[in-house]
């Protein structure tokens, strides 16, 4: 058995039993990277040397019969917008091509405390703007299920690396679906926790009111284990919640009897690929068979979610991107005569076109003349969307939908930005309302590409979506299948 194929919980058991060492596991993953990375291009940076040193530390702990955590010795990929001390953190942008943070993100501090092993920094759409990872300034990551197709985005490198067994699990960030959609495209489990459940400190902001860090894993059990490690209040992030953290593994029960699963009216109609629809219908039937009750619900304002999302996300992004001015760190243009020229050239040369597009859109919607008509109105509709969910969760435990209207599309297929934005239609409502949502494999289309099922939970009720996802997983085998590379 190749060790790189293991899940976290499988590897942990073998480590505890001393049947394998952390070094062996890390070496296996590094070897796998050597074999397939040329094809996949999942990583911006690979930290092989440090990873092996850290593995030795874990092996010492094991040798001394110290109890080890669930994540000890487990190689992980981290999206390149999450700051890692002394390791380049680029956001896949020329702007931060050589940026080395002098600090760890809080999630990294927590994972290091658990002795998880950083294997590399994963490619992404530049500053997490995109749904295909084609917007990286450095490389295009391929989908391990079909290397002519995108892995999804913006956490495409995080998803592809796990799907290709180049990491046991990874961290992504999700602003409008950037964890769930690539997880769906790559046949993995991806969780966007409740806004505030996981600290954003050290996550390079795209949109502060929407961004969340979460795990991409090979199965639901692993997802719960990673969430256990990263969730919780952080005094460095005032938007993080003091809501008590559960042991999420207690939700791993094969039981949905009496669960009320909401299916939003109209969600399964327009724009939805037939094969995706089929898989979702089958999933609904399976849940019914397992004893859940399917409830029709209404989310009357959901149709505005995409428009609202792009106004708010761009507004916040334009502000988040302002600090990249070439003065203190990051890229600075070489030829300039005046301060204004320094700014203009630095930002023109340092940012890619999608980033510039969103900066312009964002600046427009918060400009004095348009603030009320666009931004303020979007905030109001956002409140209505939130209220829709509040009402829905009075009736149901979880809400079910596809993760994405299609399976993975071909590279270069979506040249029109609007077409690309549409692929986020099912994922953005959870970000706008701060709700937790998980994507898990629920089938394959005729091209052999994975299809994802999304379950949205109530605020801080990650346990219910984990339980529903776990039950689905226990009664299907989609998560076991691996791409052939």
């Amino acid at each position: 058995m190749e060790l790189y194929k293991l899940t976290i919980h499988e590897a942990n058991e073998l480590l505890r039993k001393k049947e394998i060492s952390a070094k062996q596991l890390t070496e296996s993953v590094l070897k796998r990277i050597e074999q397939v990375e040329d094809k996949i291009d999942a990583f911006n940076t690979i930290t092989a040397e440090k990873a092996l040193e850290e593995a030795e530390v874990v092996d010492k702990l094991i040798a001394q019969n110290e109890g080890i955590s669930s994540l000890a010795g487990i190689p992980m990929a981290v999206k390149d917008n999450i700051c890692t001390l002394d390791v380049k953190t680029t956001c896949s942008s020329n702007m931060l091509k050589d940026f080395i943070p002098p600090y760890d993100a809080t999630v990294i501090e927590r994972l290091k405390r658990e002795n998880a092993i950083l294997i590399g920094k994963a490619n992404m759409d530049e500053f997490a703007m995109g749904s295909s990872t084609e917007n990286s300034a450095f490389k295009k990551t391929k989908n391990p299920w079909d290397i002519e197709r995108v892995p999804g985005g913006s956490s495409g490198g995080s998803a592809a690396s796990v799907a290709a067994d180049q990491a046991i699990f990874s961290l992504g960030s999700d602003t409008g679906g950037s964890i769930r959609q690539p997880a769906s495209f790559c046949g993995l489990v991806g969780l966007k926790p409740t806004y505030g459940r996981v600290s954003r400190y050290g996550l390079i902001a795209l949109a502060s009111s929407l961004d969340v860090i979460g795990p991409i894993t090979k199965d639901v059990t692993d997802c719960a284990l990673v969430l256990n490690a990263v969730a919780g209040l952080d005094t460095k992030d005032v938007t993080s919640s003091s809501n008590p953290v559960d042991d999420y593994t207690t939700a791993l029960k094969d039981n949905v009897k009496g669960f009320k699963i909401g299916v939003p009216e109209g969600f399964l109609d327009n724009n939805l690929d037939d094969e995706v629809k089929n898989s979702i219908d089958k999933a609904i039937k399976l849940y019914e068979k397992l004893g859940a009750e399917i409830v029709d619900i209404k989310l009357p304002h959901a149709e505005y979610a995409l428009a609202v999302y792009y106004i708010i996300a761009c507004a916040e992004a334009s502000s988040s991107m302002a600090r990249y001015d070439g003065i203190r760190y990051g890229y600075r243009a070489e030829d300039y005569k005046t301060l204004e020229e320094l700014y203009k050239k630095t930002r023109s040369e340092g940012f890619g076109s999608e980033v510039k597009r969103r900066i312009m859109l964002g600046n427009f919607v918060i400009s004095a003349d348009y603030y009320d008509d666009y931004y303020l109105k979007a905030l109001k509709v956002r409140t209505l969307i939130k209220e829709d969910f509040v009402k829905a969760f009075e009736k149901v435990d979880v809400i079910l939908s596809p993760t994405s209207p299609t399976s993975a599309f071909k590279m270069g297929e979506k040249r029109d930005p609007m077409a690309m934005y549409l692929s986020d239609i099912y994922t953005v409502p959870a970000n706008l309302s701060g709700l937790p949502a998980i994507s898990l494999p629920c089938g394959f289309d005729s091209k052999g590409l994975p299809i994802g099922l999304q379950l949205i939970g109530d605020l801080f009720d990650e346990k219910k979506i984990l339980q529903a996802a776990y039950t689905f997983e226990q009664n299907t085998d989609y998560h076991i299948k691996k791409p052939i590379l």
Binding site: N81, I82, C83, T89, C91, L96, F99, P101, P102, Y103, A105, R200, Y201, G202, L203, I204, A205, A207, S208, S209, T235, K236, D237, V238, T239, A315, E316, S318, S319, A322, R323, D325, I327, R328, Y329, L339, Y343, N363, I366, S367, A368, Y371, Y375
Partner: protein, 480 residues
């Protein structure tokens, strides 16, 4: 035509909190550049702000002192513009929901008390500082000040003359010092102001077009700038011209303002809520507690001085104009119980000396103990009042006690009758003409002879005794 002046002021005061508004860096003023900064106040990617509760508390105190309503809901917004001293390229400030609103202060003008409205007070962060003069082609940035908490106090356009503007600024400064939320040190940039000036024909309701001048860093500059702008506006209108709505730069060296940008060229700051800082709900009980803990304000203290110490209104006003001076006065009072005498000396001599030597009221080096000991030397007739004034100056210069100086310089008053008689007889002998004048009825000659006696003793002679002995001697001559 007669014009009415309309002035509105915005006062920026750095709060004297220990740490910055959004991170744990020390907020104190330091000269060594870039020593008080961290990833947060340098706006490194991924870092997040944490609001300083003490800064919110100080801003609320300022709001209470300026009779404002304290908002129950308040929030931070972002104000976007590019400048190297602004690391995030946005300033965290309050645009939509300021912390304090609808206040006022009363200012004492020559025409009596005037009530000036306070539109709002909002909390914000300061920017860093650019240093232009070290290299010819490059500028340097110092981020020590980046993120230091500020309050901006915005007045209603209620001020009707540059003089009122000046008094308003001084009153604000004094209040902030009293409640101890700002050092108000203009030379360190902890107090700055923007002035908005317009004029309109007397009786007209609508405001005239206003010009704005930003970042005036002394009251004197602000006062001069207001006066200049008033004159400029009036002369434009007199010539039938039109005042432009614009921001102008004040050059204090030249004593002139220059156009900086017009309204059309003005930045669109794209204000919007800062999602990294959660909205704040201000607890009413907290505000009540702060209100109860409020120290005495200058106006209250002035009233007390009039009532308790029986001081004239003028004295009370001068003494309470700065907290440091009033504190000094009160400390003297614990050691010496003649308020009016202290007041005379403080207003006359201490203020004259501090002004001449450019000493801040906080930095008066003569302690209340030293000062009141001096007053006692005068009271006891050991030195004369006029010698006392010189001794006080020496005390400021040397830091020595009054009795040491009196001893060292031999300034003790001569009150020995025999000694004085001898000196006076000599004076009479040397000035026969004056003696004759006096005897022939010219009483003025007496003053001259007193002067000569004081001169002969280098001012040390006890003046009452000199008068008495001289009179006796002259009257004695008359009888002969």
């Amino acid at each position: 035509m007669e014009y009415e002046v309309v002035i509105g002021l915005e006062v920026h005061a750095e709060l004297s909190t220990q740490t910055k508004l959004l991170c744990g860096c020390a907020a104190e003023f330091v000269r060594e550049p870039n020593t008080h900064c961290c990833p947060v106040c340098l706006a490194m990617p991924g870092t997040l702000p944490r609001i300083n509760k003490r800064a919110v508390e100080y801003a609320i105190k300022a709001g209470l002192a300026l009779n404002c309503d304290i908002s129950e809901y308040t929030r931070m917004d972002r104000k976007h513009y590019f400048y190297p001293d602004l690391p995030k390229a946005y300033q965290v400030t309050q645009h939509y929901h300021p912390l304090c609103k609808n206040g006022y202060i009363d200012i004492e003008t020559e025409d009596g008390v005037r009530r000036i409205g306070i539109t709002q007070i909002h909390l914000e962060e300061d920017a860093g500082k650019l240093i232009h003069d070290q290299y010819e082609t490059e500028s340097l940035v110092d981020y020590n000040r980046s993120g230091v908490p500020l309050i901006e106090i915005v007045s209603e356009p209620d001020l009707r003359s540059p003089e009122e503007g000046r008094i308003f600024l001084e009153t604000i400064k004094s209040i902030l010092e009293y409640i101890d939320v700002s050092d108000c040190k203009m030379e360190e940039g902890s107090l700055r102001c923007d002035v908005n000036v317009s004029v309109r024909p007397k009786g007209q309701k609508e405001y005239g077009v206003r010009s704005e001048m930003k970042n005036l860093n002394s009251f004197r500059a602000a006062h001069r700038a207001m006066e200049y702008e008033v004159k400029r506006h009036i002369s434009i209108l007199e010539e039938g011209g039109e005042v432009l709505r614009e921001t102008r730069r004040w050059d204090d060296n030249l004593g002139k303002s220059f156009p900086m940008r017009t309204k059309e060229e003005a930045n669109d700051y794209r204000y919007f809520p800062d999602a990294d800082i959660v909205p704040m709900y201000i607890d009413k009980e907290w505000v009540t507690k702060l209100k109860e803990e409020m120290p005495e304000l200058p106006s209250e203290r002035r009233e007390r001085y009039i009532k308790e110490y029986d001081l004239p209104e003028y004295d009370a006003g001068v003494l309470t104009s700065s907290k440091a001076l009033a504190d000094y006065f009160e400390e003297c009072l614990t050691l010496y119980d003649d308020p009016k005498n202290i007041s005379n000396w403080v207003m006359g001599d201490i203020l004259r000396i501090t002004k001449e030597k450019d000493i801040a009221h906080e930095d008066i080096s003569v302690t209340p103990k030293q000062f009141t000991d001096l007053l006692r030397l005068v009271d006891e007739g050991i030195i004369s009042g006029s010698i006392g004034k010189n001794v006080l100056e020496d005390m400021f210069d040397t830091g020595k006690d009054a009795d040491t100086i009196v001893e060292e310089k031999g300034l003790k008053q001569i009150s020995d009758e025999g000694e004085l008689l001898e000196i006076i007889r000599k004076v009479l002998q040397d000035n026969p003409q004056s003696v004759e004048d006096y005897l022939s009825g010219k009483k003025k000659a007496m003053g001259y002879l007193v002067g000569q006696t004081m001169r002969a003793t280098r001012g040390k002679a006890n003046p009452q005794m000199v008068n008495k002995i001289l009179k006796e001697e002259l009257d004695g001559l008359k009888e002969k």
